[in-house]
Structures are given as C-alpha cells and as structure tokens.
C-alpha cells in the first residue's frame, strides 16, 4: 500500500527543479526588493524539498520520475539515487547560504538586479543536471548552467569581469559541443540515450569508444581539469564573491558528475582502456600545479580560485582507484570518497570565497600582503578562512580528512599505493598556501588607520557557518556516507571485479 507521503515523495524530483525554475522568471519580473524576497522563499522551500528527497531516497532507494509520463527510451527520466540526492541536498544547503549572503552583499545595488533570476536559473539547472538520466537532456542542462553562470560572471560589467566571462563562455561552449559530439557517437553505436539503458548495452565498437572519449574531453574542459583550466581562475576570481562561491562549490561539480555517471554507465575502463589512468594522472598533476600556483598569487580570490584547480584534481583520482580496486566494495568506496570530497570541498570553498567577499567589502581590496591583522579587523572572515583551510588540508576532524582517509585506504588495500602519494602530498601543498595567508592575517597591521567599511551581518556570519559545516560534515558525515554507499555499489556493479 502506498501512503500519501510516498505519493508525494515520487513527485519530489520534479518539485526540486520546478521551485527554482518557476521562481526565476518571477524574480525577473519583480522589483529588486521583490526579487530578493522571491529568491529567499524559493531557497527555503528548496532546502525542505531537497532534505525530504534525500530522506526518501535513504529510506526506500532511488526515485525515478518520468517527465510527462512518457518514460525512456522516448521520454526523459529523472533518476535520483543516493549520489544525486547528496548533490541536490548539498546544492540546497550551499544555495540557501549564498542566497542569504547575497541579499546582504548586493543590498539595493541596481547593477545586480538581474543576479536573482540568473542565480535561480543556475541553481534550478544544476538540480536538473544532478537528477537527469538522459545523455542528451544532460547536454541541455549543461548549456543552461553555462549560460546563466557566464552571465553571472559578467554581471558587474567591469572590463576584467566581461573578458573573464567571454573566455569562460568560449571554453564552456566548446566543452559542451565535444560532449554533444560524444553523445551523438554513443547514440550511433547503441541507439539509446537513457543512462540506465546505456549501461545494459555492452558495446565495444570503435564508434562507442570515440564517443566516450569525446564526451569525457568535453566534460574535462568544463570541469577545468589541468591542463585545460586556463579559463577558471579569472572567471572565478573576477565574479562577485557570492557567484565565485557558486562556481567553485557547485558548477564545476556538475560536469564532473556527468563524467562520473557516463564513465560507469559505459564501464569506461573496459570500453576505453587507459582513460581512467589518464584522468587520474591529470588529477594528480592538477593537485600539484594548482597548489603551486595558489601559493604564488597576490590576490586572495585568485589564491582561492587556484585552490579550486587543485581540489578538482582529487575528484578525478577516483577513476584509476575504481579501476585498480580488487573488490566491488573497494570500487564503491572510491566513488563515495570522491563524492564526499565534492561535498566537503563545496562547503569549505564557498566559505573561503564568501569570507574573501567580506574582506573585499571591509577593505575595498583583497591584496594578501595588505591584509595583516585581519584577525582583529575582520575576525569572522579570518576564522572562516582558517577553519575552511583545515578542511582543505584534510586535517581531522574535517570533511576533507574523511575523503582523503577513504582514498588512501582504498589505494593501500587495492595495492595501487602510488595513488596515495598525490592525495597526501596535496594536503602538504595546501598547507603552504593556507598557512601563508593565515600568517599574514595574524601579523599586526602596519597602519592602524586603514579605512574600514561596515559589513552586513549576513556577509560576516554566513562564511563562518559554512566553514563550521565543512568541519562538522567530517564528524557527522555518516548519514551522507550511508546514502552514498548503496548508490556507489549499484553504479560500480558493471566495472567491479
């Protein structure tokens, strides 16, 4: 017998997208103040809906929603498993924090009136991307995410913001087109677009191999994996801080998430041997190169943006680990570790970017060398940066520690111990750039009479709350891992030994 709440839960995948997608045009039509209220209401509803969705998936397994009742193969299905539910819940928590922060950050500045509809569109498209189970529909979601994200990067209208937006647009659309080309080849080889159906067609035709590689290349460009990361630092650093936080915390994970789904739907390691290793090597390079670049940055936001380049590297290490796994459980743990890393990085990185935003408001600049004494002049921002730094380093008890622990344990128990090296080295390298900044924050200021501006309470406290959340997810993260576990097992069923 199905109860009322089960019937309602079955509609949640559509509801989590619809709330945001319908709020967006309303926010566009409303006045600046009205748009803010619409966004805040939508954000609160979204958190409740996403939490409910995650609880339903945890209780009774994946929820499949057939859009328009057509059903695959002709229709498009949403399929929310534990991995999707975690990403949607993550997006809702970070999204709510960013909405409240932005309400304080932008205030009644008229240049940013269109922030609200664009942000709601971006958020809604991301939720659709995390839910969708159709390779072509994922292309449409990617483009929706791209266009709203690029518009947000350029929203300030400065020369730096506009050129960063253009560079981002060109790279991102080229990435989407590679992905679309790949999907076309996969369709030619298999005749299906639904990811579940794709996973049931065992094909090793050259057409499918070329298709998978093309799609992954496109997604790698969009995730800014080294060496194709050139567009990310200027775009993430020149956008207004709430938008930088969205881009680093959520948007890059969208394209990564599709790569993950596609690789395992098509048993990537068997279809295109060498591809998991290639992705792992690029990931390891990203960890080192991103950290080195972060250390030498002059501006705080550029440092945080290069740290994202490094942290993206960790996500891709999961592919060779799954390939090397000697048991099904190990393969699933590697996937859980990667998604858990995405969660803790999203919380820590949004805390860092929002703290950098608070610094920008208070001082009017973010030159690291001139931020001495920040612990006294902007204590909340300094603490938020420090606590988020703990998660970035992967020190216990942070979320970053849990994901690295899981990675290292899989690497050692499967015999592929060398993958533990970049993971552990990355922590040390992160320490160099985090401590460099903290040391300056702790130094006493050279001139006491710096002009300080008033900061809205939301701008002061939200970064600290997110930073604490990135720490707590390490201690209280078991429900997240419980939600990821079964989904990761199901996902790796086709590739595990």
């Amino acid at each position: 017998m199905t109860s009322m709440s089960d019937v309602f839960a079955a509609q949640l995948p559509a509801l989590t997208v619809a709330v945001l997608i319908f709020a967006a045009p309303l926010a566009f039509l409303a006045s600046a103040r009205g748009a803010r209220i619409i966004a805040l209401v939508a954000a609160f509803v979204e958190v409740v809906a996403a939490g409910w969705l995650a609880a339903s998936v945890a209780a009774s397994g994946p929820i499949i929603y057939r859009i328009g009742g057509w059903g695959a193969p002709l229709g498009i299905d949403f399929r929310v498993d534990g991995l999707s539910a975690v990403m949607i819940a993550l997006a809702s928590v970070v999204g709510l924090a960013i909405t409240v922060y932005a309400a304080g950050y932008f205030g009644s500045d008229e240049r940013y009136t269109y922030f609200w509809p664009l942000w709601l569109f971006l958020w809604g498209s991301l939720v659709a991307l995390f839910s969708s189970n159709d390779a072509f529909n994922l292309y449409v979601c990617l483009e929706l995410v791209t266009i709203s994200a690029v518009a947000l990067v350029g929203i300030g209208g400065s020369k730096a913001a506009l050129t960063a937006a253009m560079r981002y647009l060109l790279a991102a659309i080229a990435g989407s087109l590679f992905y679309l080309f790949g999907v076309a080849m996969l369709y030619a080889a298999t005749g299906v677009l639904d990811l579940t159906a794709l996973s049931q067609v065992a094909t090793k035709s050259p057409t499918a191999q070329v298709g998978l590689v093309l799609a992954i290349v496109g997604l790698v460009v969009k995730t800014a994996l080294v060496p194709i990361h050139f567009w990310l630092p200027p775009a993430h650093a020149n956008a207004p801080s709430p938008i930088s936080a969205v881009l680093s915390a959520l948007v890059v994970k969208g394209s990564f998430f599709i790569a993950l789904r596609l690789m395992f739907a098509l048993s990537g390691g068997e279809l295109a041997p060498g591809l998991p290793l290639m992705l792992g090597l690029m990931g390891a390079t990203a960890i080192v190169w991103g950290s080195v670049q972060a250390f030498s940055q002059v501006r705080l936001k550029m440092l945080v943006a290069y740290s994202t380049v490094a942290q993206i590297g960790y996500l891709f290490v999961l592919f060779p680990l799954v390939d090397a796994a000697s048991s099904h459980q190990q393969a699933a743990t590697a996937v859980s570790a990667g998604i858990f890393h995405a969660v803790s990085h999203a919380l820590a990185k949004s805390a860092m970017f929002l703290a950098a935003g608070a610094v920008l408001v208070r001082f009017g600049h973010d030159r690291i060398a001139d931020l001495a004494g920040l612990v006294r002049t902007a204590p909340a921002a300094a603490f938020a940066f420090g606590i988020a730094g703990v998660s970035m380093l992967g020190l216990p008890p942070s979320g970053g520690f849990v994901s690295k622990w899981l990675y290292v344990s899989v690497a050692l128990s499967s015999g592929a111990w060398w993958w533990a090296i970049p993971v552990l080295l990355g922590g040390l390298l992160a320490a160099t750039y985090v401590f460099r900044v903290i040391a300056i924050f702790l130094r006493s200021p050279e001139s006491a009479d710096a002009q300080l501006c008033k900061v809205h309470p939301a701008v002061t406290w939200i970064p600290l709350l997110l930073a604490v959340a990135s720490l707590l997810v390490g201690v209280l993260g078991q429900p997240v891992l419980d939600l990821l576990g079964p989904a990761a097992l199901a996902m790796t069923a086709g590739v595990a030994p």
């Binding site: 002709l74 266009i147 020369k159 730096a160 506009l162 050129t163 080309f181 076309a184 030619a188």
Partner: protein, 109 residues
C-alpha cells in the same frame, strides 16, 4: 554491382566531422571574437550533420525520428547561446573598444 566503400550516410557523417574540426581550428587560431563565435556555430552545425546522418544509420529503414528531435533542440540551444555570446561581445566592444581577448588583461582589476 559493387557496394560503395562509403555509403551516402557515411559521407554525410564525415562531412559533419570535418566541419567540426574546421570550427575547432578557427576557435583556437582566430583572435577576433566574432570569428570565434562563428567558429562555435560551425562546430555545432558539424555535429548536427553527424546526428542527422545517425538517424539513417540502418540502410533501407525509415529514419529514426529521435535524432531529428535532438537536432531541433540543439538548434534552439545554439541560437540562444549565440545570441548571448553576441550580446556579451557587443558589451565588451562598447566598454573597451577591443574585439580580441588579450592574454593578460583579465587577471587584475
């Protein structure tokens, strides 16, 4: 009568792949932003060629309608993205007078 090495569909698909490569080359080599936006359009047209060819992949059967729906959706997406890229380009031109991205201009404010 011998079967040709390449069927009509294959020629179509290869032409699409060639267009994609021409577009990609233009995107990477041409500095002018309008050329880059056009190059992206050539790339997407190339893919649409391939997808239309995929619809006829089984000779003698009626074409598969699903790829046609994909191409129609793809055209809508490309038109919107192009409109957006042109608007952004116009804004960059009015703000800076430049039509190319320089290599260092966007690092510092």
């Amino acid at each position: 009568m011998t079967t040709p090495v390449l069927s009509q569909t294959d020629i179509y698909a290869l032409a699409g792949a060639l267009l994609f490569c021409i577009g990609l080359y233009g995107l990477m080599i041409r500095p002018h932003l309008l050329h880059k936006v056009l190059a992206l359009n050539i790339m997407s047209t190339g893919i649409f060629f391939v997808i239309v060819a995929v619809a006829r992949r089984v000779p003698g059967q009626t074409p598969d309608p699903l790829p046609h729906a994909m191409v129609l959706t793809g055209i809508v997406v490309t038109v919107s993205a192009t409109a957006f890229a042109l608007a952004l380009l116009k804004r960059i031109f009015t703000e800076t007078g430049a039509v190319c991205l320089d290599d260092t201009g966007d690092v510092d404010e």
